[in-house]
Each structure stands twice: as structure tokens, then as C-alpha cells.
């Protein structure tokens, strides 16, 4: 079997998602080590412009451009990937542990009868064999797993697991025309996009998260302003979502989203285990809380013990100034 890697590229609003560029960067490291090929798979409609961009990141860009693929569906996308994996027989297939990846990859694993490791945060191929790093039990334990040789395992990675390095490759663009049919048992009645250009919370480099200490939904406005300055997102604790101050999609924690931003700032977040299990892989954690005994301080790198309503307006101005300086 070759040591080629095939990566399913996700797009949003006509651009390649950051997580896919992370995977291409890591995949290239792998194929450079084994002198093999990195395949980027781009599926969609009128995506040839994006394919050009991907040439810099991969050896071959497999493009499947078809109107039927305009919107993601597991039936059509799995059909495409199934055919490509069978044709190119890669050593491994990488995808993102996103809403799409979590929906598509298990279905594909079953079709190909290959195994799947999901929500990984690292991969080590420096020593003997390939080891995959994956947090379990909400990050209380890190497991290292391997897949038996002989089939093509599928691995999905959590966004923000790897850094992005643009290469100046000049990958070959290969247009694939494949048989694709929709499953008639599934009828999409309506798709409602938020229209937001904001980065998805799981991909955000910056998250400012509000807890019950924010005292009410109206006070999240300042967090929104700070998130906008930083090009990031506002998160919320479970208590906040249960109180209907914020939507469920903003919830960070065990029953919400798992996030790994470069910088996380928790404001009035107590630090219940439920919440910290969703954010403790953040690179730098800052906590602002007037209670010096709040558990969040056990997880934070830096802490400010003060009333958050005194701190936030000043923090907003300082971050704005810092951004303008860059």
C-alpha cells in the first residue's frame, strides 16, 4: 500500500476552511517524510477557483464539481469519497471533526468497511508506525491509538490542532467525473444560513466566554464587541444557555462545543467541570472573576480577580489599541 494521504477539504462561503488548511499542512509533513503524494479532495459546485488555491498546499487536487454537490449531504458526498478512496487507495484519509465531518466520515467508514478514529488532536509518525492522539473523558485522559495495517483508516481532527504553513507547491489539478445520485429517502426542505461571516466557534482563534456572572443577556454586547475586534467568537457556559441568555450553538462544554482557541477569556465563568471539559485544550486561558476561589482559576494561565464590569470596557479599549498597532 502507498503512503499517500487523502484529505477531504471543507469550504464555507466560497473559501477553504481553516481546519482543512491545517490538515493539508500536517498531511504534507507526512507525505514528505514518506516521499508519497498528498491529495486534496474538493467537492462542490463551481469550486474550480478554490481548487487553484489548493494547488499550493497539495501534490494533487481532485476536484468533483457538480450541481448535485452544491450543498453538503452525506449520501452524495460519501458516494464521491467512496469512489475516490477506492480509486486512489490512500494510506489514510483525513477530515475535520466538524458538524460535516462527524456526519460524513462514519457513514464513509461503514461503506468502505474501514475503521475510524474521530476527534483526534495530533498524529505522530516520527517513530515506529503511526500513532494518533485523542483526548477522552472530556480531556481527563489522553489516549494514543493505532490502526491495524491493511486498510485505509479514516481520521478526523479537531479544528485548531495544527498550525498552517503555506507551501509553494504546484499541485496537479485532476477533474474527476463520477456517478452521484441523491438518496430519494432524504428530502431537504429548507436550508437556513445565519448569513454570518463570523468564524465558526470551533475554528476561532479567540473566544471570549460569558458565564452566569455576566448577570443578563444584555451584558453580552460588550463580549460581542471584543470578539469582533479580535475576529473571534463569543462563547457561553451551560448555565447561560439554560437561562436562554444565549443560543445553544454558543455553548462551550461537555454538552456543547469543544473549542481549542489560541486565546480563551472566561468572564464570570465559575469553571464547572462541564465547562472546562470543553475548553481546556485552549492554548492560553485567562479568567476574570471577582471570586478568587472560583474553580476556573485552577484551569487558567492568567487570572484577574475583579468585577468583570470594571474590567471589560478597559479590556475592549486595550485590545482595540493592540489590534490597531499590528
Amino acid at each position: 500500500m502507498s503512503k499517500d494521504i487523502l484529505i477531504f477539504v471543507e469550504c464555507k462561503e466560497g473559501t477553504v476552511r481553516k481546519v482543512s488548511l491545517e490538515l493539508l499542512t500536517k498531511g504534507k509533513e507526512f507525505t514528505e517524510r514518506f516521499s508519497s503524494n498528498l491529495y486534496a479532495v474538493l467537492i462542490g459546485y463551481q469550486v474550480k477557483g478554490i481548487a487553484e488555491e489548493l494547488k499550493a498546499f497539495s501534490d494533487k487536487v481532485l476536484v468533483v464539481d457538480n450541481e448535485i454537490l452544491k450543498n453538503y449531504r452525506w449520501d452524495t458526498y460519501a458516494a464521491v469519497l467512496e469512489q475516490l478512496v477506492k480509486k486512489y487507495i490512500p494510506y489514510m484519509v483525513f477530515g475535520a471533526s466538524t458538524i460535516t465531518g462527524k456526519d460524513l466520515f462514519p457513514r464513509l467508514a461503514a461503506r468502505l468497511n474501514v475503521t475510524i478514529v474521530s476527534d483526534a488532536v495530533g498524529i505522530d509518525f516520527g517513530g515506529e508506525g503511526v500513532r494518533i492522539k485523542k483526548p477522552i473523558f472530556g480531556g481527563k485522559i489522553i489516549s494514543w491509538t493505532a490502526c491495524k495495517e491493511g486498510s485505509t483508516p479514516l481520521v478526523t481532527f479537531r479544528p485548531n490542532s495544527f498550525s498552517i504553513h503555506k507551501r509553494s507547491l504546484n499541485g496537479e489539478l485532476i477533474e474527476e467525473s463520477l456517478k452521484i445520485a441523491k438518496d430519494p429517502r432524504l428530502n431537504v426542505v429548507n436550508i437556513e444560513r445565519g448569513g454570518s461571516k463570523k468564524v465558526d466557534i470551533q475554528e476561532a482563534d479567540f473566544i471570549i466566554c460569558g458565564g452566569r456572572g455576566m448577570k443578563g443577556p444584555e451584558n453580552f454586547q460588550v463580549l460581542e464587541e471584543i470578539a469582533d475586534i479580535m475576529g473571534g467568537r463569543v462563547g457561553a457556559s451551560r448555565a447561560v444557555v439554560d437561562s436562554k441568555w444565549r443560543e445553544y450553538g454558543d455553548q462551550v462544554g461537555k454538552s456543547g462545543k469543544t473549542v481549542s482557541p489560541k486565546l480563551y477569556i472566561g468572564c464570570g465563568v465559575s469553571g464547572a467541570l462541564h465547562h472546562t471539559m470543553g475548553m481546556d485544550t485552549s492554548k492560553v486561558i485567562v479568567a476574570v472573576n471577582k471570586d478568587p476561589n472560583a474553580p476556573i482559576f485552577q484551569y487558567a494561565d492568567y487570572g484577574i480577580v475583579d468585577d468583570l464590569f470594571n474590567i471589560l470596557p478597559i479590556l475592549k479599549d486595550e485590545l482595540k489599541r493592540a489590534k490597531e498597532e499590528v
Binding site: T115, V284, I285, Y302, G303, V305
Partner: protein, 263 residues
């Protein structure tokens, strides 16, 4: 309507977990619950049963004998029947194998609708639902936020998309995975708990479902756990000092820029 619900018993989020000396096995404190997202699935199944006459809710889990506790909780909530797919001597981590067992059970029992949580909070996987659906040759929808039964042959569901939502009509039989927001799982009433204590919960050997033992035993797993390790510990928190809020923020900005290089 016959609704099957797949559940998993998982360690409580507060449970202490210790890596054993061999670094390949774990000791888990004896605190277990039904996987949160599966509780949502049980609740939804019971709500359908309450709305649609002659419906039946069957709950099943692939797990150890201890997992019977989770099945009893499901009966206490209102499920009609429960089955344990006993994994004694068959323990493995390969989602393909677990889905194979669950789909064989589903074929044997028959069903109109299968519900299960969008992911397990212990292994952090989100695989079983969609893999089982593929093995059964039925459609699935992941992480639904709303479910409406249109008739005995069709459901309408709403689910989360990247940056939006979609509404899909799905023909039955189908498999749907559930998540927070769909409903609020009920706390069982004492009458339900009494009923659950008395309920007979059959234990099924997965090998009796027409699957060859060599296809599902521990060695058949193609995912191998090499080792466990604790997560990297962060150094103790540095409390940013200052006489005034302005000074504290100024000092924080300094460390974020110079020390943490986070800005």
C-alpha cells in the same frame, strides 16, 4: 410505531479516572450515568410514544453487566423493554464492530425509527449512529434539534449545519441522533422506578445475533489503544495584580503580548 433507542452507560463527568501502571488500562471510580445525549434520545422516544397510539420503545445497550443500571433508568423514564448486549470477553474500541452488533440486534427486533445520542461523552466519538444506519441501509440525520412525526412513513427534522440549520424530511425507517436542545429529559417518577426494579432485562450474547465471534471479539478490533497518559498540566495560575482595574488590564496585556504571545 416501534422505536429503538441505543444508549451507553458512561463514567460520570465528576468520576475519578486513574491510569493503571501498564498505561494501557484505566480504573474508573464507580460513578456512572446514561450518556447525556442518549437521555435526550430516550426522552424523545417516550414523547413520541405518548403522542402516537400503539407505539413501543425498546432500549438497548452494548456494554458490561453493570450497564443494566442504565437500562433500568430508561425503563423508569418510560421505555417498554430493554436489552443488554453483553460485551463480556468482547470488549473493543472499534466503532465498526459495535455498530455491527447494534445493527444485527435492530434487524432481529425490527423498527420504524432508531434514536441515539449524537456522541458518547467518554470516548468522544460520534460514529455509532451513522455507521449503524449505513449497515442497516437506512438514511440518518445527525444531531437533530427538532422532530416532527408527519405520518407513519415520514418524519421532519431540523438539524445544525455549519453556520446554519436545515430542515429535512426523512422516510422511515431511519436513524436520528439527538442533541441538547431537542428536549429536556424527565426525572423518573417513583412509580417508574418501582416498575424498573421489577423489569426483566434479557441479556443477549452478541454471537447469538448471527455474527461470527471472530468478527467481533477483542482481537477483531482494528483500532488499538497503545497507551494512556494524563493531559499536560498547566502551571499554577498567575494572578495579575494592580491597584486599579486599568492597571490590571495593562499588566494582563503585557503578559499576553510578551510572555504568552497570544496577541
Amino acid at each position: 410505531m416501534h422505536i429503538l433507542v441505543f444508549i451507553k452507560q458512561v463514567a460520570d463527568t465528576e468520576a475519578r479516572i486513574i491510569i493503571k501502571g501498564d498505561q494501557k488500562s484505566l480504573e474508573i471510580e464507580n460513578k456512572y450515568n446514561i450518556n447525556f445525549f442518549d437521555e435526550v434520545a430516550i426522552e424523545e422516544a417516550i414523547r413520541i410514544k405518548e403522542r402516537i397510539k400503539d407505539s413501543q420503545v425498546t432500549v438497548c445497550t452494548y456494554g458490561t453487566k453493570k450497564a443494566v443500571e442504565a437500562l433500568r433508568t430508561a425503563i423508569a423514564m418510560g421505555a417498554d423493554r430493554a436489552f443488554l448486549l453483553d460485551n463480556t470477553n468482547l470488549e473493543n474500541h472499534d466503532p465498526l464492530i459495535i455498530a455491527k452488533i447494534l445493527s444485527s440486534f435492530a434487524k432481529r427486533e425490527g423498527f420504524d425509527l432508531i434514536l441515539c445520542g449524537r456522541q458518547a461523552i467518554d470516548d468522544e466519538n460520534a460514529n455509532i449512529g451513522a455507521i449503524t444506519a449505513e449497515f442497516l441501509g437506512i438514511p440518518h440525520v445527525s444531531a437533530i434539534l427538532k422532530l416532527e412525526i408527519m405520518d407513519e412513513k415520514k418524519v421532519r427534522v431540523e438539524s445544525e449545519l455549519e453556520g446554519g440549520r436545515e430542515v429535512v424530511e426523512v422516510q422511515l425507517p431511519a436513524l436520528l441522533t439527538t442533541q441538547k436542545g431537542l428536549n429536556e429529559p424527565r426525572v423518573p417518577l417513583i412509580t417508574g422506578v418501582m416498575k424498573a426494579m421489577k423489569a426483566a432485562i434479557p441479556s443477549i450474547d452478541p454471537c447469538s445475533l448471527g455474527i461470527a465471534k471472530e468478527d467481533i471479539n477483542t482481537d477483531a478490533s482494528r483500532v488499538i489503544v497503545l497507551s494512556y497518559e494524563p493531559p499536560k498540566k498547566r502551571p499554577p495560575v498567575k494572578i495579575i495584580e494592580g491597584e486599579t482595574p486599568e492597571e490590571k488590564v495593562e499588566n494582563l496585556m503585557k503578559v499576553l503580548k510578551e510572555e504568552a504571545k497570544a496577541i
